[in-house]
């Protein structure tokens, strides 16, 4: 069981990093892509992580067709601070706080270029997690919580002109997030972890968009499934995994009317690697590339994503360390 918890410790940050996302027609507010992710741990354990997430969109798509146009590029860089506290062995609370930089780069073949950038505090997420089922090698966890609109959603450019929703670091709306995950360890190889997550994000309405307008990002469903295992390479404990993610986003709404060229369906492949550098410290790195995209209308669609971070835990009763030392 102790080994199992440590596997989770290793793997879960990676598993959960892509649980949610804003609409993909843009760099979007990246917070939700990184929600959750901290492992189930024993009572009275604090966990922290600090990471960076770079999401790059240069692929222009119409439906499933890729257009031969790379004149527009969107980059979203997020600095993410996550923390978690286990109130009991089964109940824990996650918090995720962000700082976001959005870039929009135009580079037309005709030579015209443009560059815009915003940066600032992003939104935050709090998730209340409950591990409600444990039987042999299987765990079921349900989580519920809000996305809190700490981030600004009315940033202006240097000329004092209000920028579009997808360049804002915050969404300006409260969202409700439900997450359910199932995970199981391998029978023959306990270090192997199989998992599947279901996530639904019910989006709220920003009622102060461009003055007094209503803007609502599309509701979103995600299914994430993957397998991960760990290996000793020399003296280093390395975990590797491969995840697949399906993401379906409804169209955004402006004043309750559907917005064209927003929403769509995507499938991503995500290789992950983690290195347990100390008993309570992990470095992780993952990439993500789209395997399939079917966007509504014509949109910039994700081209690749890189996410890296460092995780650290402190257990008041030192149970975690003891478990590892055993």
């Amino acid at each position: 069981m102790h080994v199992f918890k440590w596997i989770l410790f290793l793997i879960q940050p990676i598993i959960m990093q892509h649980a949610l996302a804003q609409t993909c027609c843009s760099g979007g507010v990246p917070l939700a892509n990184n929600i959750g992710g901290l492992p189930i741990s024993v009572k009275n354990t604090w966990q922290f992580s600090f990471g960076a997430d770079l999401n790059v969109l240069t692929t222009l798509k119409e439906g499933t067709s890729k257009l031969d146009d790379r004149s527009r590029e969107r980059k979203t860089l997020s600095l993410l601070f996550k923390t978690s506290y286990s109130i009991t062995d089964k109940f824990f609370i996650d918090g995720l706080f962000s700082w976001v930089q959005q870039e929009r780069i135009i580079s037309q073949p005709t030579g015209f270029t443009d560059y815009d950038q915003t940066r600032g505090l992003g939104d935050a997420v709090v998730l209340f997690n409950y591990n409600y089922f444990n039987f042999k090698r299987v765990k079921l966890i349900a989580a519920l919580g809000p996305k809190i609109p700490f981030g600004l959603s009315n940033l202006k450019d240097s000329d004092g002109l209000t920028l579009n929703a997808d360049l804002q670091p915050g969404s300006g709306a409260w969202d409700g997030i439900f997450l359910h995950r199932i995970q199981a360890t391998g029978k023959a190889r306990p270090s192997r972890l199989y998992f599947a997550n279901f996530t639904y994000r019910y989006t709220g309405v920003n009622t102060e968009y461009l003055g007094e307008q209503d803007y609502q990002f599309g509701n979103e469903l995600q299914l994430l499934a993957g397998v991960a295992d760990q290996f000793l390479i020399g003296t280093a404990l390395i975990s590797v995994g491969l995840n697949a993610r399906y993401r379906s986003v409804r169209q955004d709404k402006f004043n309750n009317e559907l917005l064209p060229n927003t929403g769509g369906n995507w499938v991503f492949l995500m290789p992950v690697v983690g290195w347990h550098i100390k008993s309570n410290m992990i470095l992780s790195l993952n990439g993500e590339v789209p395997l399939y995209a079917n966007v509504d209308g014509t949109q910039l669609s994700p081209t690749y994503r890189i996410n890296g971070g460092i995780y650290y835990s402190i257990s008041k009763n030192n149970q975690v360390k003891k478990q590892v030392n055993k």
Binding site: R72, D166, F254
Partner: protein, 365 residues
């Protein structure tokens, strides 16, 4: 192990370096910023449209093809037509929906067609500013959902529906317009079978058979950006011809295409100093306006020509025995070769006229 650690740390945090960006657009020295922060319109109502400056690429001197080669166009697609001498060209909405501006040359004369898909307004602009030729680009900004073109000569921003420069070195300068005709491809090519039309080979990868804004042009409740005032007398997306007053340029009278029944109908009206003749057809989907007072003070009285022999560009006849085409050119009779004075007018969605010229007068007959 240390090596791997360093590599992972470097990889994971590589993007942190981007935080110390050296090309912050907030830097006033950024050449992409307009030269002036003063606006003639409420700055708080000017919004970034999303794609960014030149994110919607304007076309310049696009490839033109014969009507028979424009197989990508459907008969009911709208086009903006322009005739300069014997050079006749059509600028289709399916192209303009994606590019919004076409900088072109007709007989060596530089022009721009400016089209805003969100307000449904298409205008012809001269692109010689203070003696210098420029091109216009799409600034990516919107005011009352309407395109703000910028000129590449001074980087100044212009308002399409106001027809003036609203920000930058040329602020307050009015643009020179020319008379265009908006109609369906079917009507246009029947009127002008010799027309040239923009090819779908634009050099950009777009699906010109696909309208990019969903149900926007038919859904009266659908807006993508705020509009300051809305007037419910006419459905928001009904296409109407707006005539801008000659004197103050701050009043508009609108004419509903739907009120021009039959193949070709003609109506007379007065608006400010204009003594107007309007010719149009809901069925054939065109509506144009001219001042029927000639430069010598003569006021002509018009009636519609018959299309019994098929659609023709000749739409007006007068009591002097002249006939006139859709560009206000006398093509037969004693005044052959003369032109009616154009008025500042173009077609747009009803809501856009109310947003720019509050409480516009509506022609009721």
């Amino acid at each position: 192990m240390n090596h791997i650690s360093k590599t992972l740390v470097a990889a994971g945090l590589i993007s942190l370096a981007n935080c110390s960006d050296q090309n912050n657009p907030n830097n006033p020295n950024n050449p992409n910023n307009p030269g002036s922060t003063e606006w003639s319109i409420p700055k708080e109502e000017v919004f970034d449209g999303g794609p960014g400056k030149d994110g919607i690429p304007a076309l310049t001197t696009p490839l033109m093809v014969a009507a028979s080669q424009a197989t990508y166009l459907k008969d009911d697609d709208l086009v903006i037509g322009y005739k300069r001498g014997n050079d006749i060209r059509a600028y289709p909405h399916p192209i303009l929906d994606w590019h919004e501006i076409i900088n072109d040359e007709m007989d060596g004369h530089p022009i721009s067609i400016i089209y805003c898909p969100l307000t449904g307004t298409g205008t012809g602009w001269e692109r010689t500013l203070n003696g210098k030729v420029t091109t216009f680009g799409v600034s990516g900004l919107l005011y009352n959902s309407n395109i703000i073109p910028y000129d590449r000569l001074t980087n100044s921003n212009w308002s399409q529906i106001r027809l003036d420069c609203v920000n930058g070195e040329l602020r307050t300068q009015r643009v020179e317009t020319f008379h265009t005709v908006e109609t369906t491809w079917k009507t246009w090519k029947e009127m002008f079978p010799q027309t040239k039309v923009v090819s779908h080979q634009t050099g950009f990868s777009r699906n010109y058979n696909n309208y990019p804004y969903g149900d926007y042009k038919t859904n009266n409740n659908s807006f993508i950006f705020p509009v300051t005032s809305q007037d419910n007398r006419i459905p928001n997306k009904e296409r109407v011809l707006g005539v801008i007053s000659a004197e103050t340029k701050d009043r508009v009278k609108v004419y509903r295409l739907a009120s021009f029944e039959g193949e070709n109908a003609v109506k007379h009206d007065n608006f400010g100093s204009y003594t107007l003749v309007l010719a149009g057809s809901k069925k054939n989907n065109f509506l144009v306006a001219f001042d029927r007072t000639l430069t010598n003070g003569t006021i002509l009285t018009f009636s519609p020509t018959s299309f019994s022999q098929g659609l023709s560009p000749v739409i007006l006849s007068d009591t002097e025995g002249n006939t006139w085409n859709v560009f206000g050119e006398a093509v037969s009779g004693p005044r052959t070769g003369q032109k009616l004075k154009p008025v500042i007018s173009f077609i747009g969605y009803w809501f856009s006229w109310g947003a720019f010229y509050p409480n516009p007068e509506i022609f009721e007959r």
